[in-house]
Amino acid sequence: MKMKLLYALFVCVGMLSVPACKKFTDIQPKGKNLLNTVNDLDLLLNFNYHSTGNATESQLLYAGSTAFRFLENNILVNDLYPYPDNSLSLISSPAKGLTYALLTYDESIDRKSLAVSDIKYEKMYFIISAICNIVLDRADIASGDRQKASQIKAEALVLRAWFHYLLVNLYAKAYDPATVATDGGIPYVTDTDIEAPNAKSTVAEVYQKILADLDAAFQLNALPNVPVNNERAGKGFAYGVKAKVLLSMRDYAGALQAADAGLAINSSIDDHRNFLPPVGNRTISKKTIDAPDNLFYATITTTHPFDQIPSLELLNNVYEPGNIIRDSTATYNVSRGPAISGIAGTKTFFSATWSVNTAGITTMDLYLTRAECLARTTKVNEAMTVINFIRERRMKPYVALTATTEAQAMAYLARTSRIEYLFTPKNYLDIKRWNTEAAYKQTISKTINGITYQLKPDSKLWIFPFPQSATNYNPLLTQNY
């Protein structure tokens, strides 16, 4: 009987252990990064910002996506023709989609109803929310080296600032001091709460927050001058972002200071004279992530812009005579252009060993920012020095240019940067920015099949619609055009 009671007691105690259930079921899953240590968080920042990867990765990394192609922006500013669509078919087809609107500057097309989703929007916010904000949220509580913790926080801040900068320039008006306080911007996302809708900030607020993030990053004083690889943020990249942001805000002195600080870390520049015989041959090549002029590498594929087709206006009128790539190498393919675009005389960029850094920053951003800042601050000659420094490495034969006025220098700068920034979204950013100034606004025009299409500086096409996948699920998000 004693035993019996003992057993009974034993079992009763077992039964009263319901609260133990909670503790019993607290286990950590294996095969998962639990994001508890600085090193765990560091692995998030090894993100694949270029998009070639294996199939499993592609789903998770949004790799294989066209996010960093920026073809829409390139078409809008008449840098490129659509690819791989046939432009003539696009124009003649009764189905008029987004590409048609951008190609023919047809403002009557209801773009927001056609923009069901937008891979650029999704990918950049993925980087902001699922990488940067997670790192920032957890770095302080994560165990591990504190210096490393500060470093990953600083990296996350710079990345968050940079991708918000790209987003605000795509989906809102360019920074215009006159209206910036009321112009609708984008959500500046700093939290990890997915329940609360992210409110849209004004353009002014977005820029303030970008600067605040950059300042916070610099204050941590943990960024390496040169990062371990170019898909990680270093000080050079941070200065590059700051220079671009301040330039947009017309703070030329500040932008110049930042650009110079960046150039002090890395001033490499490609020299296309290397492609000229007898040194080189007619095939051009540029390294991918390891290209020395990279400050931060993020692009569509490692072989961009293979087969892309520059507009006839750009190829024939913007490229300066003697441009080495256009005139002295086998880069532009005569036969494929018309076959793809349908437009006679077009040529495709036909090199599988060339990699343009579309969504990152290179030293060219610093050089061109420096040049513009100098030109804007009455240092026209110094500005021309920078422009000629670039041109010298692009031309054969090379003739130095001189300017006497800011406007002249700016015109030379615009022509040079248009080619330097070709295949990236930066021409779109610059032209949109200049269009806010009476002195530099321009109407873009193109002729296809005898018909001329014009894009006015105040056209609403300059602002891209938020996709429905965002507006339908964020009640606070309204279009900016």
């Binding site: 019993f24 286990i27 692995l43 990394l61 993925f126 902001i128 929310s129 990890t192 997915i194």
Partner: protein, 1192 residues
């Protein structure tokens, strides 16, 4: 050189035959052996006793013979002690000796010896109060087979004096009037009235009801056993008697036609419809009280005592968070009789060979004609002008090792002028006489033979009850070089430690080994090829990877031949799976005070699986792999070769997975009756853990015989980099082997994700019954699982249920209504749950990726954290009635349910600025409603045990499944057609493109949302044009089973009807040309041609639609959705139970024979494209079962 010439034939037919016969022979031997044991051990009696009590002697005889003795102690004691000495005499002789000169006689009823006084003794010997005329009666209730009728109620007519027969059929009643009438009732027996025959003990013979489904009086929920009368839930219990009427290797199949609401269609079992969107739809399987992780297919069908299906929430609430899909509770058999029982059973199933003519493909001759027309056009354009582009393409394809069909090659040669038309025609004529599929059927397929043997030894005596079951299954897979064997060993024991403690314990080991070929066993070889030539020699042909016209493997010494023959290849490349599942359990039953028991239980399960894929050195796979990675340097005689894959030996790829699971439960039960009040309460806690993990490994250059391997000599990194442009490769120029490397080498090495899950729960339930009329039930439980994380509010979400039952027949006002035997109304409402293991509330990142430029490891967060994740919930309301009318002639139950599932895991879209575009959260709602009817009628009741009886059981169920809410994720027609969800439609709905047939040039066209026709892909804006073509699950299923019994024969058959479901079948694809492979689908014969412009089937070959047809749009068109309704005779069988007079002579208690036909030709199929809805193709194979069972 290492050049692999195909081996000479090795098949030894005699050996094969011997192999086939061996199991049969084994059965026969076993059978004979058992008969001998039985003859010796059970019928002969040897006694040598001096002055012993009769009781002691009877016990001895019982031990030796297994016959029970039934006697009144007083009566036997009266006669005093006896001396007896006999040797190897029959039972009757031994008893005669014992009772010699005594005032006793005996009779043998079944397996019971009834001792009674001789006539001159007073009829009633024991009056409790002399002069009152009252007597006591003891006795035994047995069925027509002499087996004890456990649980039969014996009552005195007109009084409340009643008792129940125990496990041995014994009963005792006190204080009867001498002329009283006894009424014997029971759920599984026919009611009968008997007058005491003056003997005590008396034997009452009853007849077992020929009832399906209703023959069980208690319900086992796994946690408790409760009288059916007191239960309020919708449950169906099927007992072993029912199950044994039909042989099915998988016990689940045996439930078809017995359980309303359980649907086993196309390999998925659902109970009352699908109640989830993305989570598991598997029902929970409980064996002997605890859930098991192993498959229900491994449950030994011969060892099942009862299966209970818990359908509604009240019944299933006890399993809380895992019960949404219903619960299947299996109770295995235990030793019952107080002697050793040996059961032996075997069933041998013989299957027809698959009939390739029912695959809806063209014949070999038709294939030749079709290809002839196509290639004539392809090379010659129908005229004499040669199409040089096509000619050059084919020249190139031959050179680069693309597949080339023999007809194509004939026309290629004709186009090049190498042969004449007459030569081509002659060659084609000879092709037409070939029939590869027939040869394949004859030589490669075998008649599938499935054999199962079961031997059970159960003893019950003293303190220990034991049950030992040995089950062996073997199956030849229906194809050469294959087998699947399984040995299942189960020991279960109950030990009565003391009055207050029983211990149940057991161990179950299942060891399985199967082998099947990795080489294609549905060969993609032209139908007009040959497997064997006229002399029976093997013919060699290519696979679709290469062609026989490319001579590179013959002319390059470093390369291996690329031709194959299935007879050879099926034995060279195979997969062997070794499985071992073991389960140990221990549970104790402490009887603390009257009515209260404490019941701790523990179970440990361990599953091991080891899969070895071995490709021999000469196998096609190895020859192909080696060729791909053979690099040639130099030319001519000076050429040297480097082999990327070891040139000798094969490949061994293994996968080892381990699963360890344990469960512990502590439970208190309280069950008491106080006057008119009866209560039953249980409360307990349960903890479970599951842990699975494993590894995958690869050996190259492996030789099984030599036990050698050369894996370390392989430069994997270099192999991985070899791409299409590698100029060193001489085999299959231009082919990129990177995918091959990934599949054959890269993916063969790795880990099986280590996964641990834990569950903890606390629960209680109570049943209260008043006056046997009113039942109330309530349950409550809290469940925790590791998959739910942060917010404590959502962990341990309570799940509960309530139920009410009213036994109307026990009401006094029902007394005059004599035609109602049982009538019960019941209603339940309750909530159960379901788990999705894929979802987690924690924020974690997936690791293990590599950034291919920086070569650094990457982690990526796949989905946001969701701290509000909670169980999927299913609330079920069930209303039902059980009845038994007209002297239990008509029995049945009717149920109606409404099953509302909420908080279902479904993807919801997010604002992308949150970082993610969608997330799986609890946001789907589903509704299942349905009726269930089970009706059984006894047309004839036997007057005696061997008379004619005929009973019919009709089971019908409807189910309507509808998504009530989901944040609809299908925004494109393609996503919807691929299985997207839409509110108002079933979960497994078919959405189709509105096909409008072909236009004048043979281009398929569809209706757009604006009513116009299009030939291109429907845009997202056309999603409203998509047509709902019905659901994939049956909405109605009905079954009718009949049983006719006469003497020892019983005939059973089951007719099933499944209706209201649809499937896509025989949907045409765009077939560009006649490529190398199996025969073309027969619909190409009806395809569009300029002269035949009617019909829905696009042209093929030269008449393919002029512009590209959007992918999957034709396949998912509404016109190719077929109704899935069918009526089939599922099985019919004839069982014969040998008469006991005969079996007794050979010492066998019961012997039965069975002949069963499964799935003969369908009675009715609604679709008109000749497909079996259960397979989407050729009909299920008919098979024949021959079975024997013996009981000693």
């Amino acid at each position: 050189m290492g050049k692999s010439a195909p081996n000479p034939p090795t098949a030894d037919h005699r050996k094969k035959l011997k192999k086939k016969l061996r199991p049969l022979l084994a059965t026969c031997l076993l059978f004979v052996a058992l008969l001998v044991i039985a003859g010796k051990g059970f019928s002969q009696v040897t006694l040598s006793e001096k002055n012993a009590s009769l009781q002691k002697i009877f016990k001895q005889i019982q031990k030796q013979t297994g016959y029970d003795f039934l006697y009144s102690v007083e009566l036997v004691q009266q006669v005093g002690k006896v001396s007896v000495s006999v040797q190897n005499v029959s039972l009757e002789k031994a008893i005669d000796q014992c009772l010699k000169d005594k005032a006793l006689t005996y009779s043998i009823v079944g397996k019971t010896v009834v001792i009674k006084p001789r006539k001159e003794t007073p009829a009633v010997n024991n009056s409790p109060a002399p002069g009152t005329g009252l007597v006591d009666i003891t006795g035994k209730v047995v069925n027509e087979n002499g087996e004890p009728a456990e649980g039969a109620t014996v009552s005195v007519k007109g009084t409340t004096n009643a008792t129940a027969a125990d496990a041995n059929g014994f009963f005792a009643l006190k204080g009867l009037k001498e002329n009283a009438t006894l009424v014997v009732t029971g759920i599984s027996i026919e009611s009968s009235e008997v007058k005491p025959d003056g003997n005590t003990p008396m034997v009452i013979r009853v007849t077992t009801k020929t009832v399906t489904g209703e023959d069980v009086k208690v319900i086992s929920t796994g946690y408790q056993v409760i009288a059916k009368e007191r239960s309020t839930g919708a449950t169906v219990t099927v007992g072993s008697k029912e199950l044994e009427k039909r042989y099915t290797p998988n016990i689940l199949d045996n439930l078809e036609g017995r359980v309303a609401g359980l649907v086993n269609y196309r390999g998925t079992t659902t109970i009352r419809g699908v109640s989830t969107l993305n989570s598991s739809t598997n029902s929970l399987v409980v064996v002997d009280g605890l859930p098991i992780e192993g498959s229900i297919a491994n449950v030994n069908p011969y060892d099942v005592e009862t299966i209970t299906i818990l359908k509604d929430a009240a019944a299933a609430a006890i399993y809380g968070a895992r019960a949404s899909n219903g619960v299947i509770v299996v109770t295995t058999k235990r030793g019952k009789e107080k002697r050793t029982v040996v059961e032996f059973a075997t069933d041998i199933s013989y299957f027809q060979k698959p009939d390739y003519r029912k695959n809806n493909t063209v014949s070999a001759a038709q294939q030749v004609d079709l290809e002839k027309a196509y290639y004539n056009w392809y090379f010659l354009g129908g005229t004499a002008a040669v199409n040089t582009t096509n000619l050059n393409t084919v020249t190139n394809n031959i050179g680069t090792g693309q597949s080339i069909t023999p007809v194509q090659y004939a026309y290629y040669q004709l186009a090049r002028g190498l042969v004449t038309q007459a030569q081509v025609d002659a060659r084609l004529d000879s092709f037409k006489r070939n029939d590869f599929q027939k040869q394949f059927r004859d030589e490669v397929y075998e008649n599938r033979l499935q054999q199962q043997y079961n031997l059970a030894i159960r003893t019950s005596g003293g303190k220990l009850q034991s049950s030992m079951v040995l089950n062996y299954k073997t199956d030849n897979g229906g194809i050469i070089n294959a087998y699947n064997k399984q040995l299942n060993l189960f020991y279960k024991g109950t030990y009565d430690v003391s009055k207050w403690l029983d211990v149940n314990f057991g161990a179950n080991t299942i060891v399985g080994k199967s082998r099947f070929s990795n080489f294609s066993n549905t060969p993609a070889v032209p139908a007009y090829s040959r497997l064997l030539d006229n002399n029976g020699n093997k013919v060699y042909y290519s696979t679709g990877d290469f062609n026989v016209y490319n001579r590179v493997t013959d002319t390059t010494p470093g390369l291996k031949s690329m031709v194959v023959n299935h007879l050879e290849e099926l034995g060279r490349d195979f997969s062997i799976t070794n499985d071992q599942n073991t389960r140990y359990f221990l549970n104790m039953n402490f009887k603390i005070i009257r009515g209260l028991t404490i019941n701790p239980q523990f179970q440990y399960e361990s599953n091991r699986s080891d899969i070895s894929n071995y490709s021999e050195a000469d196998s096609y796979r190895m020859r192909y792999l080696k060729n791909l990675y053979t690099i040639k340097t130099g030319q001519g005689a000076a050429a040297t070769y480097t082999y990327g894959i070891p040139n000798n030996g094969g490949r061994l790829a293994t996968t080892q997975t381990k699963g360890d699971y344990w469960a512990a439960r502590g439970q208190a039960n309280y069950d008491r009756t106080f006057g008119k009040h009866a209560i039953n309460v249980i409360a307990g806690t349960e903890f479970r853990e599951t842990h699975t993990r494993g590894t995958r490994g690869l050996l190259l250059g492996y030789d099984d015989q030599l036990q050698s391997q050369a894996t370390t000599s392989v430069n994997f990194a270099a192999l991985a980099l070899i791409g299409a442009v590698d100029p060193n490769l001489k085999f299959k120029t231009g082919f990129n082997p990177q995918n091959t490397f990934t599949n054959q080498v890269g993916n063969a090495i790795g880990l099986v994700q280590d996964e641990t899950h834990r569950f903890g729960s606390g629960y209680a339930n109570a049943t209260y019954t008043y006056d046997r009329k009113y039942n109330a039930f309530g349950s409550f439980r809290k469940d925790y699982a590791d998959v739910f994380g942060l917010d404590p509010k959502y962990r341990g979400k309570p799940l509960w249920s309530v139920g009410l039952g009213w036994n109307i027949e026990n009401e006094s006002f029902m007394a005059p209504v004599t035609w109602v035997d049982d009538l019960k109304l019941r209603a339940t409402y309750g909530v159960t749950g379901n788990i999705n293991f894929g979802a987690t509330s924690f924020l974690t990142a997936n690791s293990g990726f590599i950034n291919n430029l920086t070569l650094l490891p990457v982690s990526v967060i796949p989905s946001p954290a969701n701290d509000k994740l909670r169980w999927e919930k299913t609330a079920t309301f069930n209303l039902g009635t059980d009845f038994s009318l007209f002297g239990r002639r008509l029995n049945g139950s009717i149920d109606w349910y409404r099953k509302k599932s909420t908080d279902l895991f479904a993807s919801t879209r997010l604002d992308p600025s949150e970082g993610f575009t969608n997330q799986v959260i609890n946001n789907g709602d589903l509704l299942n409603t349905g009726f269930e009817l089970s009706l059984q009628y006894n047309w004839f009741k036997p007057r005696s045990g061997s008379g004619l009886s005929w009973s019919t059981l009709l089971v019908a169920a409807t189910n309507k499944n509808k998504i009530v809410f989901v944040d609809e994720i299908s925004v494109s027609p393609a996503a919807l057609a691929a299985g997207g969800f839409k509110i108002g439609y079933p979960v497994r709905a078919l959405f189709s493109y509105p096909y409008q047939g072909l236009n004048t040039v043979g281009q398929p066209q569809w209706l757009k949302a604006d009513g116009t026709l299009t030939t291109v892909a429907l845009a997202n804006s056309d999603i409203s044009a998509m047509v709902y073509s019905g659901g994939r699950d049956p909405r109605v299923n009905m079954s009718l089973s009949n049983e006719l019994v006469y003497k020892g024969f019983s005939l059973n058959f089951l007719i099933v009807y499944y209706g209201g479901q649809y499937l896509r079948a025989e949907a045409p694809s765009i077939i560009q040309g006649a490529s190398y492979g199996g025969p073309l689908p027969s619909y190409v014969l009806n395809g569009w041609t300029p002269s035949k412009t009617t019909g829905d089937i696009p042209g093929w070959g030269q008449y393919v639609p002029p512009t590209q047809v959007p992918s999957n749009q034709l396949e998912n068109s509404d016109r190719f959705v077929r109704p899935g309704d069918f009526i089939k005779l599922r099985y019919a069988n004839l069982n014969y139970r040998l008469p006991q007079s005969l079996t007794k002579k050979i010492g066998v208690n019961n012997a039965g024979l069975r002949f069963q036909v499964n799935n003969p030709k369908a009675l009715w199929i609604k679709n008109n494209v000749n497909i079996d809805p259960e397979t989407s193709g050729a009909p299920l194979l008919s098979n024949y079962v021959f079975g024997i069972n013996l009981n000693f």
